[in-house]
Assembly symmetry: C2
Homo-oligomer: 290 residues x 2
């Protein structure tokens, strides 16, 4: 039996299940402080004979196995979680192999195994919600290098008619600063869900997301792109994404039909927790090799 944690900024999802992605029990816990949230996580897993635990976490996190702070959540502004030894805290109670990646890398793995990119060794998973993040599978491996990707903060060209200054505390008008949920709300004065009928809102959103996809495609050449997160529930964004992306690419690269290449998650909201199970499975397999 495998354990899985999808650690998000507002809630933790914990589950037990198997490497086929079958979940036999699950629980949701609000993300408050580590002292309050993690004992509830630990209590949940104590009920089960878990052989390994996979964690897909909000970030930034330290995923470098050779680093002294491997397994930490690092420079988050979230109270109590900055420089917090996440993996170590779980490991103190459960002496089992633990897999640790970003929440979006976990979701990419979930989608590539059982979801919209099933069977592919390469896919990009993007979430557009309160923030923008992306995970990517490259030739079967979750991408990491010096650290993990931070794709939500790439630079974008402003739309010539968009005067909004941007909401990112680090970069102002980076992608997240212009296109995440809070930017939509700040630009138009009401939450995105109340703007469903306003075409100009979603055209502008499509403009920025298409720019991001242009960069991701030219740099990563993924075999499939999955666009999830709360904002992407506004399905009308997809057609603007396709239209602008076609315009930006200018027939320079050949791609599959865009409506089949850039799609919604096949696992819905379960991409992350399913991927976390798979991270647990990979950690178990690694430990058996040793």
């Amino acid at each position: 039996m495998l354990g899985a944690i999808e650690a998000g900024g507002t809630k933790f999802v914990c589950a037990v299940g198997d490497e086929k992605g079958r979940i036999t029990d699950r629980i949701q816990i609000p993300t408050t402080t580590p002292e309050e949230t993690l004992p509830k996580v630990i209590d949940f897993f104590k009920k089960y004979p878990v052989e390994a635990i996979g964690i897909g976490s909000f970030g930034p996190i330290d995923v470098n196995l050779e680093s002294p702070t491997y397994g930490y959540i690092t420079s988050t502004p979230k109270p109590g979680w900055r420089d917090y030894p996440f993996v170590q805290t779980i490991q103190d109670t459960f002496d089992v192999p633990i897999g640790f990646h970003t929440d979006v890398n976990a979701a990419a793995l979930g989608e590539a195994t059982f979801g919209a990119a099933k069977g592919l060794d390469s896919c990009l998973y993007i979430t557009v919600g309160t923030g923008i993040g992306a995970g990517v599978l490259v030739q079967g491996q979750l991408l990491q290098g010096y650290s993990h990707p931070e794709m939500g903060h790439i630079l974008v060209k402003r739309h010539p008619k968009d005067a909004y200054q941007g909401k990112c505390p680090y970069h102002g008008d980076c992608l997240e600063g212009m296109a995440a949920g809070p930017a939509i709300e700040a630009r138009w004065g009401v939450k995105g869900v109340r703007l469903a009928e306003r075409e100009e809102v979603w055209e502008l959103e499509g403009y920025y997301i298409a720019q991001a996809l242009m960069q991701y495609i030219l740099i990563l050449s993924p075999k499939k792109i999955i666009l999830g997160g709360g904002v992407m529930n506004q399905k009308q964004v997809f057609s603007f994404v396709y239209r602008y992306l076609e315009e930006f690419l200018g027939e320079y690269v050949s791609l599959p039909e865009l409506s089949e290449y850039i799609v919604s998650p096949g696992l819905g909201n379960d991409a992350g927790i399913t991927g976390a199970l798979l991270l647990g499975d990979r950690a178990r397999a690694e430990s058996r090799k040793e």
Copy 2:
């Protein structure tokens, strides 16, 4: 003994050597048409008992092993080379394993094995010359997915004082359209080598390259970045790249000291041909496994 081909738009470099990167003979051949260039390539290798050949090629190329046009140079505007079966033509004479990647992926492999990123399993190699291209090694593998990266054509924000319209026939003011050698010449009216004393030329160049590096870092998180190509012989660009990159990143990600993180090629002009030898070595190793 291994054979290596670095196939460029203006010249082919062919070499024989070993997996330690030692080159025992080499030749340069002008790139004209395949009918003229390739027989000279073949004649060179006929003199040697090569066990495998590695090719790092200008592109776009088809690197998908499952594609019917694997091994082809595809949509290049270069007369005679469009939809040309490059690997097959070499294979017709030499019945040995052939490795085939982009020239810049080969250079990334060369630099990660014997050059400025020696011993790392991750590096990004960028060339800024008559075009802009980049190759990348991720967890020891040369990145490819649906196709190979085309990083030179990413979008950039214009410098507010830069009125030049851009030179890319596909995208106008993409990175290559604004920052490759021909763009510098078109913007300032003379070739870059004659502008060495004009600080504003290289500050603007650094502005665009730093933007590109921001995107590459946030998306790929390479362990080392190597900046080569003719334009980067203007070493004064580096300090502008560091300055602008620091400004753009806004302390959002922690990186090594930039002057150690972003460097010139350790192998000078031999990164590509050395990498091609290593591609030959990998192809030989693969064929032994089968």
